[in-house]
Symmetry: C2
Subunit: 693 residues, 2 copies
Amino acid sequence: MAGEDESPSRDGGAGRSVGHAASGGNGRRRNEAEAHLERRELRTGQKPGERYVRIVRPHAREFRRAPEGHIVATERVLEPKGRLGRLWTRVKRLIIGPPLSTAQSIHERIPKVKALAVFASDALSSSAYATEEILLVLVLAGSGALNQTLPITGAIILLLAIVATSYRQTIFAYPGGGGSYIVTRDNLGDIPALLAASSLLTDYVLTVAVSISAGVAAVTSALPNLLPYQVELALFFVLFMTLANLRGVRESATIFTLPTYLFIAAMLLTFAAAAVKMLVLGDVPQAEARPVVAEEPLTIFLLLRAFASGCAALTGTEAISDGVPAFKEPQAKNAATTLLWMGLVLGVLFGGISLLAVVYHVLPQENPTVISQIARLTWGDGPIFYLVQAATMAILVLAANTAFSDFPRLSFFLARDGFLPRQFSFRGDRLAYSTGIVVLGLLAGSLLAIFHADTHALIPLYAVGVFVSFTCSQASMVKRWRTRREPGWQRGMVINGAGAVTTGIVAVVIASTKFMHGAWLILILIPCLVTILYSIHHHYQRVAEELLLDPKKVTLVPETKPIVIVPIPGLHLGVLPALAFARAISDNVTAVHITDDLESADRLRRQWEEWDQKVPLVIIESPYRFLRQPLLAYLEARREDEPNRLVTVVLPEFVPKHWWEWMLHNQSALRLKATLLFQPNTVVADVPYHLKR
Amino acid sequence: MAGEDESPSRDGGAGRSVGHAASGGNGRRRNEAEAHLERRELRTGQKPGERYVRIVRPHAREFRRAPEGHIVATERVLEPKGRLGRLWTRVKRLIIGPPLSTAQSIHERIPKVKALAVFASDALSSSAYATEEILLVLVLAGSGALNQTLPITGAIILLLAIVATSYRQTIFAYPGGGGSYIVTRDNLGDIPALLAASSLLTDYVLTVAVSISAGVAAVTSALPNLLPYQVELALFFVLFMTLANLRGVRESATIFTLPTYLFIAAMLLTFAAAAVKMLVLGDVPQAEARPVVAEEPLTIFLLLRAFASGCAALTGTEAISDGVPAFKEPQAKNAATTLLWMGLVLGVLFGGISLLAVVYHVLPQENPTVISQIARLTWGDGPIFYLVQAATMAILVLAANTAFSDFPRLSFFLARDGFLPRQFSFRGDRLAYSTGIVVLGLLAGSLLAIFHADTHALIPLYAVGVFVSFTCSQASMVKRWRTRREPGWQRGMVINGAGAVTTGIVAVVIASTKFMHGAWLILILIPCLVTILYSIHHHYQRVAEELLLDPKKVTLVPETKPIVIVPIPGLHLGVLPALAFARAISDNVTAVHITDDLESADRLRRQWEEWDQKVPLVIIESPYRFLRQPLLAYLEARREDEPNRLVTVVLPEFVPKHWWEWMLHNQSALRLKATLLFQPNTVVADVPYHLKR
């Protein structure tokens, strides 16, 4: 890396490049990057030493050489300067890890066993609260109504089978990743795609909030002492997930595997123990009996509402079809198999928990949770009970992680297509989409704070979005079959058609039964989001059209020299660089002094005339002590005088040696700059004066 | 104001002025400001049409003409542009009032009756809590110790007499205003003056906090329902005082008069009623008896601590000597008389309250306050009781206002002398020292929030500073007498000497007895403040020395044309103005594109070559996706190549039509700017591109 300072090819001047001398330097160094670049060069038909390429290749060790007019920044440019910078970098690397180069981004392929853990944790974890949510609705009609839990659970498992079968087809149709947004945009166009995207964005935020509050409930069920700190605990988990995801999720597969299988194992073991206890020993544990008075009659509406609440179990089902590219070859087949397994496991867990809840006569209550009551009744208050609670908490918190990888990815797609601000497409130090991760963390954190990390308060908002996006995605598949008419299209169309109709009906059921309890918020939010996304797209498109530059038609006409205004606080050495710069770039320079103190203005005028440097000075008296408004009015007047010339404001700026000295200077300059930024046709130039002492 | 557009004197070009044409325009308008300016012109010996003064007098109606090279901004420059600007201005004017010009600053002279109300409210109001603070310390030694209140009150009233007599002399010596800082700086130099200033600044903040929390206690004593909201109430009062003071205190004399005299009247009436009740009717009301167990023995230390707590009564005594210029002629004599009256009234109120507290056997407790217990025992629970409470609250809140005028004024003096940042010397819309007012409001608000608006928690921090500044001020007077040896200097020296010794001893007593209860904080804070103030002064002085420009020796050498770097996100119309400006100011222009996406870089390169506008393009590959660090390293390398030329970064900036569109653009430019601001020898120029649609 060293030794480049002596490069013979540098001419040190500002002239045009001597092409061959420059490219001659190339041969000295043959590292991989250069070879790569040269290969690229041949491919794109670039010649070394193009006409107008000046020698602009800095000889500093911070850069590696590449073909003419192209330099590669090395890791050295990241070396922080100054003590504070070094400290900050060290702290950041400790938390986030050292930066990764774009070339280091790998596409890890994971086997089915790990894939089940990674993609199914969200879906499987919902079995931890789905039964409880059904019970909480049914109990309104008294304890007698709780038996209805079983048929409702059955209906939801049937729905799960339909959804899984539908998504199986999506996997084969979109082996490159078939998230609802992509599939819908591909088949139905922008607006339905934005509907799917908005629904999913809302639901990812809710997934984080619901999973983490349910995870916290698992903690507080085991350790009731922590109950008063549930919001703090929840926010801590959100912060942890945000940081972990900013670090990147390269090691995530391993992290996921353990808790997911631990949870599955813990639940299956619980079922087995319960079966042995009941069937072999004949001992059916019963929850503490507590007569519950019916508040409402057991209507169809209440049953539907219980069904809608239980549908939270299906959230996360689409994760596998999103992530097909992450599977080992044969990707689609492996993904489909994993989806099948996920459906089976989720069905068993959900069904088992509901069954035990009914058999044990578990009553839903604030704390402990239903699943922890089941575990305690089965295992007693021993170590296994705490293990089940720990596994539940772990999988719930990890389920939030699914949203932490899906939300930023979906926002990246949206940003790439111009529906979200561009910063959502930037990748951070560790190749993660930092903006999306941070935004998700902030939104979920606010939601948890507002709803006091209460799962039951959040559930009514949940699942509407998921089913809207299911419906969009399945309807898109129907359109696709109809358009392509590939072999077997009729069968495919029937399956996806059934999926679309079912999920559509469920979406309506959820929205209407939960409407009064919070779903109205989502039903307002989603159209708003669609509008915002669409407006952003519209804006970017208009701007792109407006900015389109036809190289054949547009030429660069250099501006005439600008009118330069230099606001000065007084006559001292600090304004000299600004005045000198102003004189260097134009011959039309005016110094301006704005004041309400006529005596000091007189003094300045006399000093200025004594100095006599052929720069005119204008004193603007501002009787109301305002600084910005008179300057703006003055600039406006100068602009009107010569409308064809650009007005340039050159601001002298003090740069003190220590950071704390900043607040002793430049307060006026700062205010001026903030205002000038928004002025039409005004160029603002900061000229620093570096204080030596 | 209109019609100036047709001014024959404007030449529209950029050339030098045609002096007489310009000054010829002058005669047309003869308003007062111009006449004033012309008078000034004669006085300073300026000639119209000086050599190097270009015609820079904008013809817009926003300016009034004045002699050559001098223009006066009219109120029209303050007219806001845009809907949001107008709304903001309207809200601001509603709260703060319309701006006042510097010429409108008047020095109101107030008669003695009003002056007593304005300057004494702080001192008088402390009688509302001083007795309670004495009782609260004595009760630690059991209810029997409460009788010691009377001798302690007597000692404090004696101290008041000494301090008042001392300050009487300061008034005659400094008829222009004799705050401790000014008097001390005049006689003892910078460091003692900063000691006085720091003590006062700290105590002003505490005055606001203590007065307002005591005022809130008066409210909650009458309306115990409001107890849970005492912090909110206190913060509301702080906000109210801050806004009222930003409006300016021109009407303040009237505002002050009513509550001050109401409070005096209410207390005197209470004393009279109590006297009648006890002496005529023979009915001595007794507070609910509650045996108090002694926690500590009644030591000398405890007595001294009770004395120290009671000394809070003396805070505010210096206000009159600060404000001598506000009195009617003969100023000093009127001020001295007012001081005498203040001392008498304070002595009577404080003595009377302590006497009644002892006679009624009032026990200090959290709520209600001692003064409200006295009022209730005297008047019963009727309307007069509520009137007394209201008057107490009003005078306490108004006492905070004394600090709101003293703190900003002291910070102005400090800023003027270079001990505080310059913005403390700026006067806002309404001629008030806005920075000082806002800073005081924030500090007092934080203090109230931290201490939960609890008077008793704040009292231990209080009064140390006041007595330190008393001592500094009196010692300065001793020095002054000794140096000047004016007639009667020995007598003056003895009086001020006695004052200095007494207040010095009291300062030590307060600091040592309250040390463990919070005074340590103040004893750390004051030296820190002195150091900070001194460092700021030192910094400004060094800078002023460094920047000193000798007009005879320094000439303006124009810079050679700068090296210009234009970072571009791509090739479109948006970067055209920046490139054109760059070409206009230099012939050494390089466009730089930083990216990690080699394909898009190739595309840009091809477009650029097709465009072929003779501006070289450098592509910096940034494998870690960083934007700023590679650019900084590149600038550094270019700077090393040609150390004598200034490097100028020209940033293209989008200016969208609507404010919400801002966040869709310029995010990278913003980050770049934030970094470049701190770079040595780099000029940053923003060139706006205004989006049309």
